[in-house]
Symmetry: C2
Subunit: 431 residues, 2 copies
């Protein structure tokens, strides 16, 4: 092995980042949410960066994998999967909350491991690119576009989190159609986004239909999306599709599971159904595609095991004529750089990608990404093209260290209980 | 762009290589068969090697692509597809012999372009790997195995080609079960192959059944395969599957097209059907998979547009639980190196790969590959790990230049007419 490519050390830094009070079908985002920053250091001192979920259940396998990597090559990306199977063990099913489900569908042990792996895969690719002097997109076959379009990601939200010592911002509340339209105006004016998604599943469907109608009125011709995270019955989903069939670019995860999505798709009157819940693993693809349950897969390299696996998912979608775009969960600039690189190499990127990035007021990179015309320019610098801000990282890690344990695992249900003590895990379908 | 990665020049060298009188459903291999050697030269003088089909209909688009590449980066592999669409034009349908079909199924304009592209893609990857100091497998995510298994590829054959000035070898004729068993012994003793494939479609099915039975008797437990290149009716195919169900690892392309293969598969009594004819493009996958027409796809990077596309095909097969192995047409050591690299990175390589390589007495690399224990060791040298033998290349090119035109396009039907003037293009199914 080329010594320059040998992994010498892996550093893991769990952090807590400020997050606004964004509402969804489960509850509300916590004031602070955990992320894990991964640094893969080569024998020559090159540092590759990765980022993934930071909850305790992700940290345990991440530590096992980090300990096993020194001595291996940063080019050995395909070997990560076998290595993880060997060293990470099987996560405790009870710890997963798997039967409860959530915003990403059921969380299985395999899905958890792939989410851990994804952060390491990105860090290996970054280290490899920096060492070899080529951008990550070149390691994935080369970009086919110079800019990647993102979408405005609107949320119903409170003006502020309950309680003292919670992060504040100046976005204000958005709890009705007018508030959503105002939020959309700020998004489009500031960032130039050319499509708009509303996170739904928060209010009665009629209220969310009214919000989409208000957006359609305020932004004529703008592609619009609505995502209630599987919160509706088939009948409700069909009704919403019918009501909004003239303005929706797609309807995202209206109902739960392949059965639910297939039943909606059959009666959706041409409104494509997108998903990041029904199809989140390779195993779910054959039945969902065969039954026409989804028309757009919202890939997420954190779910699918990294950037190479995302490229493969894109090939599967292309082969079967299923659309492709990208999902986002709360993330920082390392993950956004990774998303942008992989989005740049996929020929069939059919829709603008989701990102929570504009909601994040903190970051661990020295030069946060700037959206222009709703897009990011694909970096041609070696690796991902972002640099770690060590002071910021240390401060966010300090917050994690000093946390009393309440924020170290993201739990939107528990966060909602702070304001509404009687809030219960919603039973799906909620409407 | 990093100057070291800039393409300065592309050299194309059509050659004619000696080929034994191997029989198939169409006729017989010519004494010499055309190949094209591609050299991609970077600004710093690094040379990346590629190899593909060399018939006239492949040379024309290859020349257009070669002329368009200087100034681009060797990392821009994904950009090849759009570039080819722009500069190569649409090949003349009549020149393709597309409606005639042949050993690789119908040859469409798209398939021809992908075959041309594949040679360039491999040359770019080789140049990239040499420049960056990493093996091609690392550029594809890293090998998951150190050795790649190949299979003995038996052919019915004459002792020699008719006519003077044709290449000779010492393999002797193989025209009956005893001859096939003798050929298999030499293959397994010399190369250690652990599985055996017989090219069929040459004689009455009962004679080929007898040959497989003889192999099963001589090599108990050895995985056996039979490939008549679509030469049989559904009824004949079902009968052969029934007769050989206890010894066949798979039956390859017994019948033609998705309809034929699906009909056979439904009655094949558990014998998997493999293909390099029914499924040779992305467009053919959905229907063939949905109907269960094929259980093993024999990928070929020359068909599918290169090594990255082969990795994607593997992911599609893995997703749908369809087996994967590799097909081979007559090829030299550059293509065998490329096959070995991509085979090393694919987790789901379910069967030993095909290769014609042992039949080739000539090569354009300085150190021909050596099978040990039926396998090749995956090279960790930068790029493909093979070096061009310029003297050999010049000699084989001289043969192409001096050819009177009869050998520059491979035509197994015409080659058969030299010995049997009344031979006609067989009408399928032949039996």
């Amino acid at each position: 092995m080329n010594t320059a490519l040998r992994i010498e050390e892996v550093r893991l830094t769990p952090i807590l980042i400020a997050d606004p009070p964004l509402l969804n079908v489960q509850g509300v985002h916590q004031p602070y949410t955990p992320r894990l920053i991964i640094e893969v250091v080569t024998a020559e001192g090159v540092v590759g960066l990765g980022e993934t979920y930071g909850d305790a259940k992700f940290l345990e396998p991440a530590r096992a994998l980090a300990a096993a990597l020194p001595g291996r090559s940063v080019t050995d990306v395909n070997g990560l999967y076998r290595l993880a199977a060997e060293v990470c063990g099987r996560p405790d099913g009870a710890a997963l909350g798997g039967d409860v489900g959530g915003l990403r569908g059921t969380l299985s042990a395999d899905k958890l491991l792939l989410s851990v792996l994804s952060g390491f895969e990105v860090a290996l690719l970054d280290a490899q690119g920096r060492t070899l002097g080529v951008p990550v997109h070149a390691l994935l076959g080369g970009k086919v576009r110079d800019r990647v379009d993102y979408s405005a990601y609107l949320f119903y939200r409170w003006a502020e989190h309950p309680g003292a010592d919670t992060p504040r911002d100046d976005w204000g509340a958005a709890l009705d159609p007018a508030g959503i339209v105002a939020q959309a105006r700020r998004f489009t004016e500031r960032y130039g986004f050319g499509s708009i998604k509303l996170k739904g599943g928060v209010f009665e469907p009629d209220q969310e239909i009214a919000a989409i109608r208000a957006l359609a009125g305020a932004f004529p011709g703008m592609p619009l999306r609505l995502d209630p995270n599987g919160g509706w019955s088939v009948e409700t989903s069909v009704r919403v599709a019918h009501e909004l069939r003239d303005v929706l670019e797609y309807l995202e995860d209206p109902a739960s599971g392949t059965d639910g999505m297939a039943a909606v798709a059959a009666r959706a009157e041409g409104v494509p159904l997108a998903t990041n819940m029904c199809v989140t693993t390779v195993q779910e693809i054959p039945e969902a595609f065969a039954r026409g349950a989804v028309q757009v897969v919202l890939s997420d390299h954190h779910y699918w095991g990294g950037l190479r696996r995302t490229v493969e998912l894109a090939a599967v979608c292309r082969t079967f004529g299923v659309g492709l775009s990208m999902h986002s969960n709360t993330h920082l600039g390392i993950s956004l750089a990774a998303m942008t690189h992989v989005a740049s190499v996929v020929p069939n990127l059919d829709y603008a990608c989701d990102t929570h990035y504009p909601w994040q007021s903190e970051d661990v990179i020295t030069a946060p990404h700037v959206f222009e015309g709703g897009a990011l320019t694909v970096s041609d610098a070696p690796g991902l093209g972002v640099e770690l801000d060590r002071e910021a990282l240390a401060a966010l890690h300090k917050r994690w260290v000093e946390d009393d344990g309440r924020m170290r695992d993201r739990d939107d249900v528990a966060a909602m209980r702070v304001a509404h003590p009687d809030w219960e895990q919603p039973v799906m379908p909620r409407w």
